[in-house]
Amino acid sequence: MTRVVEIPSHLDHQSFDQFAKSFGEPGDERLLFDGHSIHWGSPYALTGLLSAGQWLKEQGKPQPLFTVPNDKDVAGYWARAGFFEHAVEFFELHGKVPHVRAHGTSDVLLPVTPIRGADDVHGVVDKIQEHAQSMLRDLGLESQATMGFAMALSEACQNIVEHAGTGGWVAVQAYHWRKRLGRRVVVIAVADGGVGFKSSLEPTQGHLLGDRWSDSAALEAAIFQGVSRFRDPGRGQGLAGMRRYVDRWQGKLSLRSGTARLSIVPPWDDDVPMTDHLPPFPGSQVLLIIPARQES
């Protein structure tokens, strides 16, 4: 039996829950990811789709099908962003895949890149340096923002290496966010199909909260209390560092894991800090948005 997973035509961190709901909790049926009508997919969407495919493979589920977006511009953008290059590992692709290799451009600052270990984190940080300074200058941010950006990227990726229990994906893109913000933004998206925050922290934190231990409690513990699954007192500083970075540059940080999403919400956004009881989704999804400085 094949079950269709509907993908919203505009898939980003805001519509991801709709996708997660359709993804559901797969059994032994074969899934068909219906992407033919997609008009826009953010880096969050691309890394999230790949982590879903990865999770299905690692769970031994039947290989899912994926219909390529009909829109040539969208398919071309996804190809440049490296999505299809990795998607063939997890999905049976249907439709016309553009023959474009992934490469860095003014919008695709870092194509979708697998993160499996510390060497991959080094590779990502090294690569982003090629673009970081000019990219942040375009946003009107001082040179001080550059190292912080690489630091936040590194810590977001290390979260996979240290906590997911499996590999994951990162992508960095820049685009003009007309609809919501009317400004250019740089976006870091990191996703994995691993154990998620709740399971990762449960051995050290679960007993403290008993019945109240949940995805949202785990996210709060990680980001506000710097809790880590390791007992080393120096651990758990990465997320706090990411939070300081977005605070300083009026950015947004959002972490989704299991059934909860915690966001550090800047003044320009109307998101809520914590959303609970979301449709479950494997692993964790991290989003950083750094907006261009608003001209006074």
Partner: protein, 178 residues
Amino acid sequence: MGSQSIDLRSVLHETLSFGYGDLVTRRTGAAVRNGIVELLGDASGDDVTFIDFGKVRVLDLSCADEIVAKLLIEQRARNFVLKGISDGHREAIEPVLEQHDLAALAQDRAGTITALGRLSDGARRAVAWIAEHGKLDIQDFAKDLELTEEHARDLIAELVERGLAKDSEDGTQAMYSA
């Protein structure tokens, strides 16, 4: 009191063979810390070691924790100055020092010495004063900062306790300088 300078980028290249030049990830930080400890060798406890960040492009929190915080904890008897520190390095080092309740001396690229980490405001002013004057004269120090001599001595005691200054043989306390 002798001194030694350790270039972190060289240590990185000698310790790990993958060819990347940034100080990121815990694994890299731990390897670089071990490389530093090997270079420290038999240096005397009175020697000052400058850990040179001047050629380091990116430093993340995990690596700063492994290199700086753990080095200070494990090598408590030694004297370190973090050299070539940029604002970006500071953003990574300051929180990890505070997390461990540590403090360290830092010298920026212009040569200015400041204190990083957890330290009272008065002790920070003392660091700035000693860095400016080279050596401490407790009366001048107290007079310049409009402190009682007792308060001035307390601030210096804090610096000594935090490992930022040391009792010297002639009874004064000297700050490490470049």
